[in-house]
């Protein structure tokens, strides 16, 4: 997927900054590997019984004997996710962010901020997630809450396999990371975009006067965008079905297959929905490729949280709404004059939120049981509770857990990223000087333009023609 992001970003920006954006993409894969290996993995999955942060296995230190390779494979898989979260931001701040700021932020993200989110949602010790198994099993509900079905008391729950310490009973379900990966990355992107400000000439003209209609800065290669989209879509089949983590029980293979189907359907409906909406909204019947590619990505992000716990029909609905949401949020950003070079915020931030919430609405109790081994007739999405499809669903408890998760992720990321970016900005380390921005970062930082289409010289053509001039020579005229 790194290749996908690199191509998508490269295709979406102006041709004067291609080298720069691609270098950033390569570097965050590298920085992510080192940051996550040295610190991040330990913070996220260290074995202590601390629900907020782990503190062991730095530098993979405790897997020396390799009696089980699963640890290492797990690290490898998690690294790929961390790098994805980091790379989301690259597109948004493209064409104007300094390299050093990029280093600092991507290390901070993979080494600390992202791991804390992962621990909360995905680690067995985490306080937020559905995997929590070894937290304190105290009964923290009041009797009246129990009667209302908002939570389940300890003794009753343990017999039935419930884990009362999970948040509101079900815990937050984020199967492959709409929240953990995309919302974290998307929130970082929005903070960065606000502090960094728009590109020169995007919303204001040379004299600082607001432009009535913002200046479009068109993508330099739609082909690279589409290539990037297809590679990302392909990579998502590792992202979503792969998140079953162990492909060896009958239900996990079922879950993986379902995840693959839902991923496909949601991407397709997201793409068509946003494409159709953009077409309907435009005066001239514009058939916009970017709406189609970003719509597909929106559908993918939106289904990421719920791919294992919703039925295919719900995937179509989720994707479609994701596509609409993308168009709406993209227009909103322009209204607010927040400049997002590749529309990463509508795709990852808005649909990250939607993905988390959609689980709270559409999750089926049957599938939650299969994917998370909850007891039969347990928690389900709000629509299922509403239709009384299960007899002990927790009155919106899953939806509530999802909302808490969304708020936590946004809050945590904003709280840490804002001071970081603000400090960078104060010290002048965040944004490149005006001259460099206007000339393009490829010339100012990377020794020349990324594309060199110089033709052979006239003399060379003439010499060649002399040599091979024959009656039927297929040489085109110079």
């Amino acid at each position: 997927m790194q290749a996908g992001f690199a191509m998508l970003c490269a295709g979406s920006i102006r041709s004067i900054n291609i080298k720069n954006i691609m270098l950033k993409n390569l570097l965050d894969a590298c920085g992510g590997a080192i940051g996550y290996w040295s610190l991040g993995y330990a913070f996220a999955y260290g074995s202590e019984n601390n629900s907020f942060i782990g503190s062991s296995n730095f530098f993979l230190g405790s897997v020396k004997d390799y009696t089980s390779g699963y640890d290492l494979a797990f690290f490898f898989f998690q690294w790929a996710f961390a790098a994805t979260a980091a790379t989301i931001v690259a597109g948004t701040v493209a064409e104007r962010c300094k390299m050093v700021a990029y280093f600092v932020y991507s290390f901070a993200l993979t080494a600390f901020i992202y791991p804390i989110v992962t621990r909360a949602v995905w680690a067995p010790q985490g306080w937020l997630g559905a995997f929590r198994t070894n937290g304190p099993s105290t009964t923290w509900c009041t009797t009246s809450q129990q009667e209302m079905g908002l939570c389940i008391s300890g003794s009753f729950a343990n017999n039935d396999g419930f884990y009362p310490s999970r948040l509101f009973g079900p815990g937050m379900i984020d199967f492959a990371g709409s929240g953990v990966v995309h919302l974290t990355g998307g929130t970082t992107a929005i903070v960065a975009a606000v502090i960094l400000g728009p590109r020169i000439g995007r919303f204001k003209d040379e004299h600082g006067v607001k432009l009535i209609s913002p200046n479009n800065m068109p993508a330099h290669s739609v082909i690279l965008q589409v290539l990037g989209t297809f590679i990302l879509w392909f990579g998502w089949y590792g992202f979503n079905p792969g998140s079953t983590l162990i492909q060896s029980t009958a239900s996990s293979s079922y879950v993986a297959a379902l995840a693959a189907v839902n991923t496909t359907l949601s991407a397709a409906s997201g793409a068509l929905a946003s494409f159709a909406l953009r077409w309907a909204l435009s005066d001239s019947g514009l058939l916009d490729v970017t709406a189609l590619t970003n719509g597909a990505l929106s559908g993918l992000v939106a289904i990421t949280a719920g791919c294992a716990v919703v039925w295919p029909w719900a995937a179509v609905v989720i994707g479609m709404f994701g596509g609409f949401l993308y168009i709406g949020f993209s227009n909103l950003l322009i209204k607010l004059r927040i400049d997002d070079a590749v529309d990463a915020i509508p795709v990852h931030f808005a649909n990250g939120i939607w993905g988390c919430i959609s689980v709270g609405l559409f999750a089926s109790n049957t599938l939650v049981k299969k994917a998370y081994d909850y007891p039969t007739n347990s928690y389900a999405g709000w629509f299922y509770e509403w239709s009384a499809g299960c007899n002990r669903c927790g009155n919106g408890s899953l939806l509530a857990a999802q909302l808490v998760g969304v708020i936590f992720i946004i809050g945590w990321t904003v709280c840490l990223m804002t001071p970081l970016f603000w400090t960078l900005n104060q010290f002048g380390l965040f944004r490149v000087p005006k001259e460099e921005e206007q000339v393009g970062l490829d010339i100012s930082h990377h020794g020349g333009s990324a594309v060199q289409l110089t033709k052979p010289t006239e003399e060379a053509l003439a010499a060649h023609k002399r040599k091979s001039s024959t009656p039927h020579s297929p040489i085109p005229p110079p």
Partner: protein, 477 residues
Amino acid sequence: MSTCSVADQGNADAAINCLIAQQVKDHASLDTFYHIFAAALVFFMQAGFAMLCAGSVRAKNAKNIMLKNLLDACGAALGFYALGWGFAYGGADADVKTFIGDADFFLHQNADGHHAFFFQFAFAATAATIVAGTIAERCSMIAYLCYSTILTAFTYPIVAHAIWSKSGFLSAFNNDPIFGCGVVDFAGSGVVHLTGGMSALLAALVLGPRMGRFYDDNGEILNPPKEMPGHSTALQMLGTFILWTGWYGFNPGSTLGISYDGAAEVASLSAVTTTIAAASGCVTAMATRYFASDPLARQYDLTAAMNGALGGLVGITAGCSVVQPWAAVPIGAIAGLVYLGASNLLIMLRIDDTVDAVPVHMANGIWGLLAVGLFCDPNLKSNAYGSKHGGLFYGEGDLFGAQCLCILFICGWVTAIMGPFFVMLRKLGWFRVSTEDELVGLDISKHGGSAYELAQSKEGNKQAYNDFIKTAGDNTI
């Protein structure tokens, strides 16, 4: 994960039965994994087709073709989910023969077969996308949407049902297969490529050539026809390699599992024959084109090499699991020649195929089916299909007959459905973009601008550059 133990189960027999049950589950898991892996690779072929098409069209239509490629993946997903899967595989039963499936629409009853749906969807999307290249640069978007929905939701599923469903009347999986052997189309030379290629041919016939390709402005025949080379060979090459890689999901993946007896051998053999046929096709097509070119200015033709490799891949798709590795060499080599011949034939007939999809997919789809009837090794067929039938070269004719029947059926069925449909589109005036749009290029007329924005304002940029040079001395970081 296993919880079987003598202590838990009480006695040894019970533990053994528990282990056996676990093993069955393990097989299901492994097969599902294999399906997902193969389907993801096949899906990746969409990226390959997109790059190949993008590189093969002129720069002014690049956005348009990319849009079509992405749209048909989306359309195929929804169409195949809603109807196609049900028509193709719904209610399959090896004891009866039906023309069309009639159950499991919207994946309604499909509690355990999501992986199979996912794999088949990737195939349906491939069939749909083949046409995009042929009619590039002149087909309207609305016609494209209509056609790709019809193809994935109805035309293709009927073909898949006939040949791959247990209830299909040509199927080798039926209990009473046709001619006693049924049709051998392992990974879909016929089902996928011939169906897609035949549709492409019909579309090209009805749609007519691009302006200026065979006729000049006054309608006079151009001799020779005007070449309209693609705008980026790098993208074509990337597409070719992605397709080749994806084919390792397409062919070996068509064992539909890896755990049952013999599946692993069949899958390995498929991978090897696939490789060899592609290589032979590439070398043959390039060498033939080289020696056929003007002796004074011999040209190594990249397009021939790439399409030769793809032709070889299409040609081996039907037989990859039932022919010996040596047979992959002639199959691939002839596929390369078939591609060249068909490509020249199309030009002679003045049928305009922008990316040569008809020679690659249709002509070689036919050749692939025939090749099985010639080269099929009875022992290998027994491994892959459970019953022995050989090709003509092994002295048996039944299979060859079944393959010919299959070709006739696919061509006939696709023509019967898609032919009138395309003619109708044309009568309605929906099929082709306006002359002005075509000349200026679809990117500008339909998509708000060119696919590339390489030309910066020269003046502005020069000014910015000079400013930059002036201040560059003070720069750090």
